[in-house]
Every structure is written in structure tokens, then in C-alpha cells.
């Protein structure tokens, strides 16, 4: 589990090694910058004065620095705060319940003495091979479950994922059977064993999968696009999507948040400020959670 991605290669000495180091640093620096620069561009665009963008376009270094876009966002934050509240609550509830169900399911499937575990595994796995497609699923949610415009439909579709169940199951399969066996002899029930003994041993896997689930919820806009029409129920990413495509809508949202009617909106810098606000929290926690993602990927790669 502990993914020590450290190179065991000796320090460079010969000329071939030096050449490889030069190629390596150049290439990696180039690709890394390529990954990073767009973020800087969005940030500096959001800090550029609107008239400067209109005249000269988006720039890597603001020609005229301005906090106007952010001022506007935070002066009338009504809709934005609602979107944040929706995303945070959906993420919190979904991650908690999702982790609980994923680990519970994985534990039952990981128990070697459970006769039907292969049948159940296939029952779950088959859903990744064949699906009814978007249309029946959509009609099911809207016409039969009547979940359109509810917070529940933002939580439910991402709650469980066969891949996470499999990763969790392979992690649990690494825990010695003796733990379950001896607890059973002591008279502990299956659920108790899972809750008291197995879960604490699964902390690294829980952290990794929990973060994957949480990231999925945080970044979800698809379910909102399909099922949410009420502005008050829009999660952050979908709110951003709406605002990017529809500046008139943004003006209305500003007005409904208390801005004056004939407000001059710096649309271009505002789009980028909205984007920054939508990624912000992720980038803030990113340095601390990256490790867990690396662990999770490593488990997935090794155990398939």
C-alpha cells in the first residue's frame, strides 16, 4: 500500500547519464509548465481590468491589475453561496454514505467463507459491461422515481461505483482471515467485525476512495445538467457552467442577489473569477490530498 515512488537509480556519472538528466529535466519541465500555465492564465485573467481584456485579450500577466470581478462576486454572493452550500452538503453526505456502503459491500464480497460472493461480484460487475444507456436511465429518474429537482438525485448516482468496490475488496482481501475467524470464535457478529475490526484496518483505503468519491461529487455537473432546473439547487460546477454560457443569466443572478439593475458587468474577467472560485478549494487542499490519490492509483495499477 505504501507507495514509495522513489527512484532506485544511482546518481548520474557518465556522459550518457548527464544527457538523460538534461533531456529529463527539460521534457518534464516543459510538460509540467504546460499543465500549470493554464491555471495561472485563468488566475491572472480574473485579476485583469475588464477594459484591458477587451482591448488586448487575456494575458499571462495582467496589463492593468483589478480586483473588480472578485469585488462583484463577493458583494452579491447570494447565488454563489447557495451553489457552494449545495456542493458542500452533497459532497459531505455522498462521501460519507458512499464510503459506508462501498466498504460494507466490499467486506461481504471479500469474505472467503461467503458462499455466494462470486455470484454477487458478477452481479455488480456486469453493470460495467452493459448498460441500458442514457435514455432509459433518464426516464427512470424523472418519470418513475420523480427525483427531478431534488438534492437526492445529485447524491444517488455517484454513491457507488463498481471500480471502488473492487479496489476496496482487494484491499480487504489482504487482511488476514484469522482476524475475522478469531472474532467469530469470540462470538462477534459479522457487522460488528466489519465495523470494529475491519474498518479501522482499512483507513488508508478509506481515505483514498473517500477522496475519489468526494472529488467526483465536487466536480459533478452532469447530473445537475440532466435533472436540476431550480437555481437554488444548482451545485457549484453547474452554476459555473451556466454562468460561462450565459452572461445574461449571470446578470440576473447578480440582480437577484441584490445588485442594481443596470449594473455594468465585467463579463470576461468575471467568468475567470468564477472559475477561480470554483477550483479554489480543490487547489487549497490539493497538496495535502495528492498523496492519497497516488496511493489509490498504485493499488489500482497493481491489483487491477
Amino acid at each position: 500500500m505504501s507507495a514509495q515512488l522513489t527512484s532506485k537509480v544511482a546518481k548520474p556519472e557518465g556522459s550518457d547519464k548527464r544527457l538523460l538528466q538534461i533531456i529529463g529535466y527539460l521534457f518534464l519541465a516543459l510538460i509540467s509548465l504546460f499543465c500549470l500555465v493554464p491555471f495561472i492564465l485563468v488566475l491572472s485573467s480574473s485579476l485583469t481590468e475588464e477594459s484591458s481584456i477587451i482591448e488586448q485579450g487575456y494575458q499571462l500577466i495582467p496589463a492593468v491589475f483589478s480586483l473588480e470581478a472578485y469585488k462583484l462576486l463577493f458583494e452579491f454572493p447570494g447565488q454563489l453561496l447557495k451553489a457552494y452550500a449545495v456542493t458542500i452538503s452533497v459532497t459531505a453526505v455522498g462521501t460519507f454514505v458512499g464510503l459506508l456502503l462501498t466498504s460494507m459491500t466490499a467486506y461481504a464480497l471479500a469474505r472467503r467463507d461467503f458462499k455466494w460472493r462470486n455470484k454477487f461480484s458478477f452481479f455488480f460487475f456486469f453493470t460495467t459491461l452493459f448498460s441500458g444507456g442514457l435514455v432509459p436511465w433518464y426516464l427512470m429518474v424523472v418519470n418513475y422515481l420523480h427525483l427531478k429537482d431534488t438534492l437526492l438525485i445529485l447524491v444517488l448516482p455517484l454513491l457507488m461505483n463498481v471500480f471502488y468496490i473492487i479496489v476496496m475488496k482487494s484491499f480487504m482481501a489482504g487482511i488476514p482471515d484469522a482476524i475475522t475467524e478469531s472474532a467469530k470464535i469470540d462470538g462477534a457478529g459479522d457487522f460488528r467485525i466489519y465495523l470494529r475490526l475491519i474498518l479501522p484496518l482499512c483507513k488508508p483505503a478509506l481515505a483514498t476512495i473517500g477522496l475519489f468519491i468526494a472529488l467526483g461529487y465536487w466536480n459533478d455537473w452532469y447530473n445537475a445538467m440532466l435533472f436540476i432546473t431550480k437555481q437554488d439547487l444548482m451545485p457549484l460546477q453547474y452554476y459555473l457552467y451556466k454562468m460561462l454560457g450565459n452572461m445574461d443569466g449571470m446578470r440576473k443572478a447578480m440582480i437577484s442577489s441584490g445588485a442594481v439593475v443596470d449594473l455594468q458587468i465585467p463579463t470576461e474577467s468575471l467568468k475567470m473569477a468564477m472559475t477561480v472560485v470554483a477550483i479554489g478549494p480543490i487547489l487549497l487542499v490539493y497538496p495535502f490530498i495528492q498523496r492519497f490519490f497516488v496511493q489509490g492509483l498504485t493499488v489500482g495499477a497493481v491489483k487491477g
Binding site: 518534464l28 485579450g57 487575456y58 432509459p136 418513475y144 466536480n219 455537473w221
Partner: protein
């Protein structure tokens, strides 16, 4: 005794079965019941009749889908994009992983990895916003650069020809961190004795990479590529939709099955045809993934999906 086997098992495993119950219900409601909805592909959908009460219309939905000329276009686009993504992404990820492994300075390796992994963490909506920032005709960074060098502006959002290249770049950008870490993990697992032996034999670093690292990665590469081929008819809806949206000018080069089905459902409300297209995709996907799994199984039984 024999007759009671099932019932006694039921009692014996009652707690485990109860623990499985929520997940079973979840997949029944969100996967298995919708699967039965594929019948819609053969029906003339009416709101009152719903999924099961609507009248049958045979293959009319499919005829409409295939005769519209769209079926071939979206299938071709989906497959070609995925093939391009598989090739470009894997080559880039493997190169990055090998170089990350070879780079001597730990601190730099961490910095590179952190930057490379960044795009993985943002939603496709944000990627769409970044794309706008770069590609917009009036304000986009690319056009700012072009005009600075005295060149003509390019109208990316109105020119279909640019998009295959752009989408391949965007896909590589988003996936490079994720994939290279997977490959890096596989490289880290290679027995170091092989490297030491090669060093003693006087192999230079490039020989070491091409004669040891790469051959040792082949199993991982083959498995990952085969599995990706299994999903070749599944388009990445989030990417295509947020990059292109409903910009019909670009569809010839950017429309994939998933975006087509989505539009048929939401804009033209053509339930029959969108179910037919969805069903077509599901069957196509099912067959290719079975084929891919068969290939994986032949190659390495333990890595097969089932």
C-alpha cells in the same frame, strides 16, 4: 437436509446479505431496471405509455438513426478519437513516467508530479472555461500571441478542422498525471537487480531504458491498452460537451455517440431515436469489451476482468 441447504445458508449469511442489500438495491434501480429500458429502442415512445406501455414500432428508430447519416459519423468519430487518445496518452504517460523515474533529484520529481497531476483534479466545466480563455476569438490567449507576432487571428470555435488536434491535446493534458503515476508505479516494481546487472555489463542509460524498463512495462501497457480498446465506443461526454457544447459548426469533426444521444434526448426530444442510438452503443461496447477481455485473458489470465 439437502432441501434446507439454501435456507440454512440464508440464515447463516443473513448479516452479510443484509450488508449487501443496499448495494444490490442500488444497482437494481440504477442499472438493471434501466437495462430493461432498452426495449424503448423498438418503441414509439408516448408519455402516457411510458417505457413499457408505448406501442412497438419495430426497427423504425434504427432505420431513422442509420438513414440520417449520423450513425456512421458519430461511430467513426468516437472510435477515431479514442484510438488517438489511447496512442498519444500512453506514449506521453510512459515517457513522463520513465523520465520521472530517472530524474535524480527527489525534490524536482515531487514538484513535477504535483504540477502534472493538477489537471486531473478539475471538472470538465473548468477545462471548458480554460479552453475559452485560450481559444476565444476576441480575447483568447492564442490569438493574443498570434497578433503579437503579426499573424492573423484564428477562429477556433468556428473551424471544425482544428478540433481533432485540440481535443487530443486536451485529453493528454488532463490524463498525463494520472497515467504517468500508474506507469511510474509499475516501473518502481521492476527488480532493481536487473539495472545493477546491466550497469555492471556496461549498458548506458538509454540501453537500460529500452532494454530493461520498457520490456518490463509491456505487460502493463498491453493490459491497459486492451482495456482501453474495450471502451473504444464510449465517448468521454464531459470532455466533448464542455469543449464543444452545442456548437453545430463543429459536429462533423467532434460529435461522438454520447453527445449525439444526449442531444437527441434533450434538444430534439426524440426518445425513440436516442434510445436506438444508445442501444446501438451499448451492444457495440459490450461486444468490444468481451473481445478485449478475451484478448487480455489470452495474454495474462490473472489480469482479465472476468
Amino acid at each position: 437436509m439437502k432441501r434446507s441447504g439454501f435456507w440454512s445458508d440464508l440464515v447463516k449469511y443473513r448479516t452479510l446479505l443484509l450488508m449487501l442489500l443496499p448495494a444490490v438495491l442500488f444497482f437494481i434501480v440504477f442499472a438493471y431496471i434501466p437495462m430493461t429500458g432498452v426495449v424503448l429502442a423498438f418503441k414509439q415512445y408516448t408519455y402516457d405509455g411510458g417505457i413499457f406501455g408505448s406501442p412497438w414500432n419495430g426497427l423504425d428508430n434504427f432505420r431513422f438513426f442509420f438513414e440520417s447519416g449520423q450513425a456512421w459519423q458519430v461511430t467513426r468519430n468516437t472510435a477515431l478519437y479514442n484510438i488517438a487518445f489511447i496512442i498519444v496518452n500512453n506514449v506521453l504517460q510512459i515517457a513522463v513516467a520513465i523520465l520521472l523515474f530517472e530524474v535524480a533529484n527527489k525534490w524536482f520529481r515531487k514538484i513535477f508530479q504535483t504540477m502534472l497531476f493538477l489537471p486531473y483534479f478539475i471538472s470538465w466545466v473548468v477545462v471548458g472555461a480554460i479552453a475559452y480563455n485560450l481559444f476565444s476569438y476576441d480575447f483568447g490567449m492564442i490569438n493574443v500571441v498570434l497578433t503579437t507576432f503579426g499573424m492573423d487571428k484564428i477562429d477556433i470555435y468556428n473551424t471544425a478542422e482544428y478540433w481533432p488536434v485540440l481535443l487530443v491535446i486536451v485529453s493528454a493534458w488532463k490524463a498525463v498525471g494520472y497515467g504517468s503515476i500508474m506507469y511510474l508505479a509499475a516501473i518502481t516494481g521492476i527488480d532493481t537487480e536487473m539495472y545493477e546487472a546491466a550497469e555492471i555489463d556496461g549498458a548506458n542509460v538509454f540501453q537500460r531504458i529500452f532494454k530493461i524498463t520498457l520490456p518490463n512495462l509491456y505487460p502493463t501497457i498491453i493490459i491497459l491498452v486492451l482495456l482501453a480498446i474495450g471502451n473504444i465506443f464510449r465517448g468521454d461526454f464531459g470532455m466533448f460537451y464542455n469543449m464543444v457544447g452545442n456548437n453545430g459548426l463543429l459536429f462533423a469533426n467532434t460529435d461522438v455517440i454520447d453527445t449525439f444521444v444526449f442531444r437527441a434526448l434533450t434538444s430534439s426530444n426524440d426518445i425513440g431515436m436516442s434510445s436506438a442510438a444508445g442501444f446501438y452503443q451499448s451492444v457495440l461496447g459490450f461486444v468490444t469489451i468481451l473481445f478485449a477481455n478475451y484478448a487480455v485473458r489470452k495474454y495474462d489470465k490473472d489480469r482479465a476482468l472476468f
